[in-house]
């Protein structure tokens, strides 16, 4: 019986929450710190904490220090729903995040219900901004935009027989479907449409299938670890079909996995990385990040989280308010051509980022990502 009492005490400790204080401006960050996407979450946190530190050094916002409240969404919807409830009950002004579309989706309604401003950074699924949620924004572009640019890039090269390979995640499947729909109206043919299983090592089976169907190009909509393996095994098999990838391939680890020789000539779509932007904002950020963490940020999505923080900080500073409705109205109506870490930022009525964001990159002999247009 004593043990039961002991455990009751333990359980009640669970709810001994942290003490609230209102002398800081709290901004939430929801990111995957555990699970398969932990590398993204780590970068997101490093970038947002770096930027918040800079703001605090310059005196903070509205005379108060900025405090980043981090919650781990584990990369899965159920954990994300809890993380959202947790952040929403911590008195935050707004929340940055998160990465995966279905993970964001699980949190969206909770933030909407609690009138919390949310700025997602990596969730590109179209329907997230089609629900009419007034306080939802995202700094990343949408899958339909990316699909359009990808199809244009492929048609421009004169490819006729196109293979589309996804990995059955919400994001990759969405992008693959967008591309297939657009290609149906074009002078090209989808000769292969299938999914690989992410997290495996050996993709020779699926590459053998692709070889049989003789495509002119393979559009891979999944993530960089699999892309790296595909490129490497493609070379080992002596398969010479060119690959073009979606924006989840913008990670230098791709080249490390594939090797310079196999990665050469691989093209992918992505919003521009700070390295490619001449603007002082991007260059200063890059220098500060390298100084603090010893290397350039790995993932473009984490940089987009940084942009999410910067627009929110800008809105708070400009409006002098922490009211969600005021901030959202500012972001939609008054924020014009804000110099972001990834180019100019404007939002439309839905909370989507306006403008031509996508660029095509190609990997060169030394494994560098070279901006094409």
């Amino acid at each position: 019986m004593k043990k039961i009492l002991f455990m009751l005490i333990g359980v009640s400790l669970l709810f001994a929450g942290p003490v609230f204080s209102s002398d800081t401006i709290k901004i939430g960050l929801m990111c995957p710190l555990t699970g398969s996407w932990a590398s993204e979450g780590k970068d997101m946190r490093q970038i947002v904490e770096l930027l918040a530190g800079q703001v605090n050094e310059e005196g903070g916002l509205l005379g108060k220090q900025v405090e980043i409240v981090v919650a781990d969404d584990g990369g899965d919807p159920r954990t994300a729903a809890l993380a959202a409830q947790r952040l929403a009950s911590r008195g935050i002004v707004g929340v940055i995040g998160t990465y995966g579309s279905s993970v964001t989706e699980a949190s969206q309604n909770i933030y909407a219900a609690t009138n919390t401003l949310q700025i997602a950074n990596g969730s590109t699924s179209v329907r997230l901004t089609e629900k009419g949620l007034p306080y939802f924004f995202r700094t990343c572009p949408r899958d339909d935009e990316q699909g359009r640019v990808a199809v244009e890039a492929m048609l421009e090269k004169g490819y006729k027989r196109i293979a589309i390979l996804h990995d059955s995640t919400t994001y990759a499947r969405g992008l693959a479907d967008e591309a297939r729909t657009l290609l149906a109206d074009a002078d090209a043919q989808v000769v292969f449409f299938d999914a690989l299983t992410p997290g495996e090592q050996d993709y020779t089976t699926i590459l053998t299938q692709i070889r049989r169907d003789e495509p002119d190009v393979v559009f891979f909509t999944g993530y960089y670890p699999e892309a790296g393996m595909l490129l490497r095994q493609k070379m080992e098999m002596g398969l010479n079909v060119p690959f073009i990838g979606g924006d989840a391939n913008n990670n230098p680890d791709l080249v490390k996995i594939a090797g310079n020789r196999a990665a050469k000539g691989f093209r992918f779509l992505s919003p521009p990385v700070p390295q490619d932007l001449p603007s002082p904002v991007a260059q200063d950020f890059l220098a500060a990040y390298i100084e603090k963490y010893g290397q350039a940020p790995g993932s473009i999505w984490a940089v987009l989280a940084g942009d999410g923080f910067r627009v929110l900080a800008k809105a708070i500073a400009e409006t002098g308010s922490t009211e969600t409705a005021t901030l959202a109205a500012y972001l939609k109506n008054d924020l014009q051509a804000f110099p972001g870490l990834t180019g100019m930022i404007n939002f439309d009525e839905k909370g989507d980022r306006i403008g031509d964001v996508y660029r095509v990159y190609e990997v060169d002999e030394e494994g560098n990502f070279i901006l094409q247009m």
Binding site: T34, D194, A195, P225, E236, G259
Partner: protein, 301 residues
């Protein structure tokens, strides 16, 4: 037909790795009737240790030669084997006389600990082995291109499996392991040090898993902290398919699972590949309830 044979070699290469990991499951199961769910993570540890040793010992220069590679493999196997023994001491030994499923939950806990430790030590991004250590030569078998590494992987797996089989069947120690697997009490009465046998099993099984991890790292190049979960599940499936507790069964099960997967992917659907493999497994178990080579044990009364 060309497609068929290419896919067959693809399947066998993956299957060889499944089989090697499955041996660890099956050996531990044979002696302790314990499903070691942390075994997949020992495989991951092997892959990461191999990378660390490769970098820190400056072996990269020599490892291209067979001698350097062998030395690396032995070190990884030894270290992972020791981790296996420690795992048993910490998480399983206190539960030896408890309900079987308690040890399964302890194993799941150990698996969480291992994978998160790897994430914290090495960081969450995938790690990459140095390239160009191994021959990438492609040679032609009946006009079909077969990368030489495919053959080397399969040959190494088979060599380790046959070595283990001979060890278990022909040596005194092997006989002791078999005796302990059949009846621990009787083995004890015959003067066999069952605790030593268990320790040995927890050394050999993880060592083979570690070797598989090293092979995956060397050949595929990319390793990540979650890969043990997928390989572990596949290897467990393979061990059951062959008849768990049975060493040739694990080999047959592993190779067969690899082939079923690649054939399912090639002729039905890639997206449904794992579902097809599990479906075939279920069909086989309905027909042969103790796996392909599992003994038909009479109900214990």
């Amino acid at each position: 037909m060309e497609l068929f044979f290419t896919q067959l070699t693809n399947g066998l290469a993956v299957g060889g790795i499944y089989a090697l990991i499955a041996l660890g499951y099956t050996m531990v199961y044979g002696v302790l009737k314990l499903i070691n769910f942390a075994h997949g993570d020992l495989f991951t540890i092997g892959a990461y240790l191999g990378l660390t040793l490769l970098a820190s010992l400056g072996l990269t220069g020599y490892v291209g030669t067979a001698g350097g590679l062998l030395f690396l493999a032995l070190m990884v196997m030894g270290l992972v084997g020791i981790i296996g023994i420690l795992l048993d001491r910490a998480a399983y030994k206190p539960l030896r006389n408890s309900p079987r499923l308690s040890a399964v939950v302890s194993a799941l806990g150990a698996s969480i600990v291992f994978s998160n430790t790897i994430m914290l030590v090495y960081g969450p991004s995938p790690k990459v082995y140095p390239q160009g250590l191994l021959p990438t030569h492609v040679f032609y078998l009946f006009g079909l291109p077969v990368p030489i590494m495919r053959i080397i992987i399969l040959a190494t797996s088979l060599f380790l499996m046959i070595g283990l089989y001979v060890f278990i069947q022909k040596t005194r120690t092997g006989t002791a392991i078999r005796a302990a697997a059949i009846d621990q009490g009787a083995a004890r009465l015959m003067g066999i040090n069952v605790d030593r046998v268990i320790m040995l099993v927890f050394f050999i099984g993880p060592a083979l898993g570690g070797a598989a991890g090293l092979m995956v790292g060397l050949h595929y190049g990319q390793i990540n902290f979650t890969m043990g979960w997928i390989y572990g599940l596949k290897a467990f499936t393979a061990a059951i398919l062959g008849g768990i507790g049975n060493i040739p069964g694990a080999m047959v099960g592993g190779l067969l699972l690899g082939v079923i997967e690649s054939m399912g992917a090639a002729y039905i659907s890639n997206a449904w590949k794992d579902a097809i493999a599990f479906f075939v497994l279920i069909l086989i178990l309905i027909v042969r309830p103790t796996g392909l080579l599992g003994e038909r044990v009479a109900e214990k009364i």
